[in-house]
């Protein structure tokens, strides 16, 4: 258990470095071959197979037992797998070193199951939600003008993905499970998720005003003065209709109306209003 307590000593031996790098690259494949029953379970096993081979190089039985055991259900945001992967490997090493029966491998499963949820929470929120939103927002604003600078954007955009994979794995491996699970228990994870969500919600609020278009062209004459509906709406609240539309979509989706239906509904609405001469371009 020395490793898990030597918190400050996070430098790796040469051999560990090689193993770490290999694991880092193989973990990129976690998103492949997902099944309904095990999700990323098979992928986890394929990813870690050479590492298990290495760890249990002296014990054929334990190696196959590990392969069997790790084929279990697993599912998290692939970008977040690093931490779990690092931790799991460090625990398998303990198991390899431990005398027969003195290490309960159920702990490894427990850790995987315990962490994959919170990590998926923060991961999906941050990567699919917030970060993707911001980067795509910028990318689209460049692409709209045909600006090829957009090709360089992934260099920045992928950084958090790569860094979290790399340092997650490194710290998971070196710091051990105590530290990480304490963070989860202390609510750090939920606090992060909450903070990320706030960023996301703020951005969505801004996006609705910037990206959603609901161009009303309807105008009429009342008592001789031209009445432009869009102008009246703007006086009440700018970007009022985009806001209303987004809220309606949100409410419908929250009531578990299928996204496909909502999507079709919006298209139909756009067509209907345009044919009625209310919206236009």
């Amino acid at each position: 258990m020395t490793k898990t307590t030597e918190k400050n000593n996070v430098t790796l031996t040469n051999h560990e470095k090689k193993l770490t790098k290999k694991l880092f690259w193989r973990n990129m494949f976690l998103g492949f071959n997902m099944s309904y029953t095990r999700q990323q379970g098979v992928a986890w096993d394929w990813v870690h197979q050479p590492v298990y081979r290495e760890i249990y190089k002296n014990d054929e039985d334990k190696y196959w037992e590990a392969m069997k055991r790790n084929l279990e259900f697993f599912n998290t945001t692939p970008n977040m797998v690093g931490t779990v992967s690092g931790l799991a490997v460090s625990m398998e090493e303990e198991n390899a070193k431990a005398s027969e029966g003195s290490f309960d491998t159920a702990g490894i499963s427990g850790m995987k199951i315990g962490l994959m949820g919170p990590l998926a929470g923060i991961g999906d929120t941050f990567f699919s939600g917030v970060w993707g939103l911001i980067i795509m927002g910028i990318a689209i604003s460049f692409a709209k003008k045909g600006n090829l600078v957009v090709a360089a954007l992934p260099l920045i955009a992928l950084l958090p993905n790569l860094l979290i994979r790399w340092y997650g794995q490194k710290y998971g491996y070196k710091l051990g499970s105590k530290y990480i699970q304490k963070a989860v228990q202390d609510g750090i994870m939920t606090m992060f998720t909450k903070a990320s969500s706030i960023v996301g919600v703020t951005v969505v609020g801004g996006m609705i005003a910037t990206l959603v278009k609901f161009p009303i062209v309807y105008k009429t004459k009342i008592n001789g003065t031209v009445f432009e509906l869009q102008k009246v709406l703007d006086q009440i609240l700018p970007n009022m209709m985009p806001l209303a539309l987004a809220i309606v979509c949100f409410v419908l989706l929250r009531k578990n109306v299928s996204p496909v239906k909502v999507l079709l509904g919006v298209v139909v609405l756009g067509f209907a209003l345009t044919f009625l001469g209310i919206t236009g371009a």
Binding site: I140, K145, D186, K194, V248, G270
Partner: protein, 267 residues
């Protein structure tokens, strides 16, 4: 010519679907595929980007999370842009094609995942047999089939579909195109709704409001709203941390709270 084009689009599709899974890279870089597409098709990358921007805007905020894949935006986007690029059509046309295709394409993924699920039994068996070779072979076969499936999908769509699409597109009346543009402008609302649904908590309402007010009234651009959002998130994070500390009944004073978490931030 069409054969080559079909082949080219197929290749880009295979690439796009690969990075869709590999490291989740595709999440952030669909425009790389559009540029690639233009280069292979000998069309203007600038034009591809403009078409792609319209399509991505319509898909804006659509997320693949957990078990559910609401739309396969990679397939929809690439085919929509490819057709529009080859037929030199407006962005609205690309969107018109991309949206329904992205919905239909989900079927392919469901079929694949169904097959992968059936194979889990085999993986289990190979492990029991202690046969790592067969295990790896099946793994790579699955990856290969996955790639081939999407390559073929694109290849045949272009090969067999182009004529039909062309006929369809040229027959679109102008009002229809206007309606299309309007509908395309409205579509990001769906993505926004999906995202909101995913992260929503009533206590985030004020930040939603603030984001909207800053963009709608004060014309703060996307980047500015995002940065401000980060400020909001951080403020709440630090307030929560403070409250959390009290919750744990640690008798620490406000400034000098020596709790572990701080190590992460106070340097």
């Amino acid at each position: 010519m069409l054969l080559y084009q079909a082949f080219a689009v197929g290749l880009v599709m295979a690439f796009a679907k690969f990075i869709n899974a590999y490291g989740s890279f595709a999440q952030l870089m669909p425009f790389i595929s559009y540029i690639l597409l233009a280069l292979l098709l000998g069309e203007s990358p600038t034009e591809a980007l403009i078409l792609g921007a319209a399509v991505e805007l319509a898909f804006y905020g659509v997320m693949q999370i957990g078990a559910v894949l609401p739309q396969d935006t990679a397939v929809g986007g690439l085919l929509g842009v490819a057709f529009a690029l080859m037929l030199h059509q407006k962005p609205a046309v690309a969107v018109t094609l991309a949206v329904p295709i992205s919905m239909l394409a989900v079927v392919v993924w469901n079929l694949l995942k169904f097959w992968f699920t059936a194979n889990v039994e085999l993986f289990d068996k190979y492990i029991d047999q202690r046969n790592i070779k067969k295990f790896n072979r099946l793994w790579w076969i699955q990856v290969g089939v996955y790639e081939l499936a999407y390559f073929s999908l694109a290849f045949f769509a272009i090969l067999l579909g182009t004529a039909g699409v062309k006929a369809f597109v040229t027959s679109i009346p102008p009002t229809f195109l206007t309606a299309l543009t309007v509908a395309a402008g409205m579509l990001p609302a769906v993505g926004m709704g999906m995202l909101l649904k995913f992260v929503w908590n009533i206590s985030f309402l004020p930040f939603f409001i603030a984001g909207f007010v800053f963009a709608a009234y004060l014309k703060l651009p996307i980047m500015g709203v995002s940065i401000l959002g980060v400020a909001f998130g951080l403020v709440m994070f630090f307030i929560d941390r403070e409250i959390n500390t009290v919750k744990k009944n640690k008798a620490t004073t406000i400034q000098s709270s020596g709790n572990d978490e701080e190590d992460f931030f106070n340097d």
